[in-house]
């Protein structure tokens, strides 16, 4: 199927009124949770997931994806005005965004981040349209060995390209794999780790695990914390927002560089917007002639990372839609949503469900246009939102969480699960164990095991099969390089020295 035909199908799907409506709901909710510190895209998507059982799967995905990229737009607002990232990925935007607000340039900063987000997303969508079908075509040849290798690469990349301790991140990915083992073994029907609890026969519910680790844990961590002081913005006038000529010149190249970096990082399986915006900032600072301006309100310091994190979010759909391997933990939840709706993600998706694939991609354009409107003319609305005290919000969020997990299966048991993972998530956060790898491992674990066992059967128990098939060998070698960077401290030190010197 050629590109043009695909775009036509996509337009037909994405421009129907109900799809437009769900896309709008998605990006609005996304901006909302992005703006509010304390509720991330992941929590919001898992919260919305049970609601989508009742709607068409394409609409459901479009809405959930809208929450994801919408949150990237919103995340920068709190970073700039409160010095508090609305989403974890917007942390970098604080570095130069808040100083700009202190200099009274908040409107300019908000405008620049919105425009950069738009440019970054738009260019990355073109890449998705170009690459995803090609990679999917190529991936039709994949056997179980290749799938095992590429999933492994995703898990390893996600846990080694991390800001904290790689041991902790790796341990958490494996913990996630372990959680994925709970339930009935599909090959033999053997119950594993169910301990006689009937509700566990199907394993932990994805919604409950995600909402526990990201929703409840986040709430516990935020209760009783002093709220950030909102920086006075006053009335935001359009004239204050519009960059002058030299400011345009300042952000032009950084935006494109950020988009490039973000698209590349995002397209790698397992690595998400957090790493992308950090790398973009580091690169920008390294090549700048005046690095001392960074941290004191350099426009490049917000435009490149913002372009990068939005580009990476869109590019994360390349491996997701072409291979069925999520490019990021949030996309992993989207993948989980597809599976719940009875759609098998993988290279056949584009041919089997063209209206879903192309509809989703065209909806990215539509959604980003809506976000531009939501985030420039209507920015004042979101700023007001930041004045709502957090302690009035979280009881409501807790109720949504309880009802949300309950509605997934009409079972009270899942409420206990969500609480359990909430406490685990809070303890992990206290001790520096990242939660996103857990989710990635949990979602990909069953797939990993399935492909491993199938590959073993086909190769008659030859474990070297993963290195004998060329494509699989390439993925395995890349995984090993990532792992080596953890276990060979010298290599890692050299890598992180370059990173640390630029991040501060």
């Amino acid at each position: 199927m050629d590109l043009w035909h695909g775009i036509q199908i996509g337009l037909q799907t994405a421009l129907s009124w109900h799809t437009l409506m769900f896309c709008f709901i998605g990006v609005t909710v996304g901006t909302f949770v992005g703006v509010l510190p304390g509720i991330g895209a992941l929590a919001a998507i898992s919260l919305a997931l049970p609601l989508t059982y009742y709607i068409d799967p394409t609409d459901a995905l479009i809405m959930l994806a809208g929450i994801f990229y919408g949150a990237q737009y919103g995340g920068s607002t709190a970073s700039i005005l409160l010095n508090l990232p609305g989403t974890a990925t917007a942390a970098i935007t604080c570095l130069d965004g808040y100083p700009l607000a202190q200099q009274g340039k908040a409107p300019l900063a908000l405008f620049v981040t919105a425009v950069n987000s738009f440019v970054g997303s738009s260019l990355a969508i073109v890449l998705v349209m170009g690459f995803a079908p090609v990679i999917a075509e190529f991936a039709l040849e994949f056997g179980s060995a290749e799938y095992f290798a590429v999933i492994l690469l995703g898990l390893v990349a996600a846990s080694t390209m991390t800001l904290g301790s790689p041991f902790k991140a790796l341990a958490m990915v494996v913990f996630g794999l372990a959680l994925g083992q709970v339930g009935t073994d599909i090959n033999t029907g053997q119950f594993r780790y169910t301990f006689g609890i009937l509700e566990l026969a199907d394993g932990f519910s994805l919604v409950a695990v995600a909402m526990g680790l990201f929703g409840v844990a986040e709430i516990i961590a935020n209760i009783g914390q002093p709220q950030g002081v909102l920086h006075k913005v006053g009335k935001i006038r359009f004239a204050d927002m519009w960059p002058n000529r030299s400011e345009w010149k300042q952000i032009w190249w950084p935006t494109l560089r950020g988009t490039g970096i973000g698209s590349f990082i995002g397209a790698l399986p397992g690595t998400g917007p957090g790493i992308a915006s950090l790398m973009a900032y580091a690169v920008e600072k390294r090549i700048s002639k005046t690095p001392e301006r960074f941290g004191n309100g350099a426009l490049e310091g917000i435009s490149s990372p913002e372009a990068a994190n939005n580009a990476s979010v869109q590019a994360a759909f390349i491996p997701t839609l072409s291979l069925g391997i999520p490019g990021d933990a949030v996309v992993a939840v989207l993948l989980g949503a597809m599976i719940l709706h009875g759609i098998t993600p993988g290279p056949n998706l584009i041919n089997d469900q063209p209206q879903m694939f192309w509809g989703l991609i065209i909806s990215f354009w539509v959604g980003n246009l809506m976000l531009l409107v939501l985030n420039i003319p209507l920015i004042g609305l979101w700023v007001k939102l930041l004045t709502i005290p957090y302690h009035l919000l979280y009881p409501g969020v807790l109720i949504f969480i309880c009802l949300g997990v309950y509605s997934a299966d009409n079972n009270v048991f899942d409420i206990f699960v969500v609480l359990g993972f909430g406490i685990i998530g809070y303890v992990m956060r206290r001790t520096g164990f990242p939660a996103t790898p857990v989710l990635l491992g949990f979602i990909l674990g069953p797939l990993l095991e399935e492909h491993f066992r199938r590959a073993m059967l086909l190769s008659k128990g030859n474990i070297l099969i993963f290195f004998e098939r060329p494509i699989s060998a390439v993925f395995m070698v890349i995984s090993l390089i990532f792992l080596a960077s953890v276990f060979l401290p010298g290599l890692r030190a050299r890598l992180s020295r370059g990173r640390a010197s630029t991040a501060d």
């Binding site: 790796l170 807790l398 309880c402 309950y406 009270v412 073993m456 059967l457």
Partner: protein, 165 residues
Amino acid sequence: MRRPMPSPVLPVPERKLPKPSLTRYLPGLTVVAFGLAMASVAVTYPLGSLLRPGPGFFPLVIALILAALGVGVMVEARAALPPEDREPFAWRAVLCTSAGILLFAFLVERIGYVPASLLLIGTAALGERDNDWIMMAVVAAFMAFFGTAVFIWGLGLPIRAFGAS
């Protein structure tokens, strides 16, 4: 060079010793323990062989890798600087949130959504030190209505607004 004494009268504060080493190793130790516990269960399932891995094979491998990574976390903790003082563990937030959620879970099918949600909000709100209880009542009333409208009337969850389902 010696540091100047702050004042001859005031006792010089002792330099803070690193926390007892056990707490430092506790996170890694927990991971190791979890891995070993998981492995001990995995060996009770049929292991199979490489040619035909059984249901116990993959969990056993995962469990052993997890335990090994736990050792890695412990080794790393040895080399790391003692953690700087952070805010204390939020016992109050954990307790109030847990109590609220548990109440909701136990009661929602017995006394209905509206009273259960009010109990959840009230209990969870105790986690905050000073609350604006009037605003909280407004939030609770809103959530009671909104939840009923969306989840019970709209989505048709098998629970009732009031009373056992």
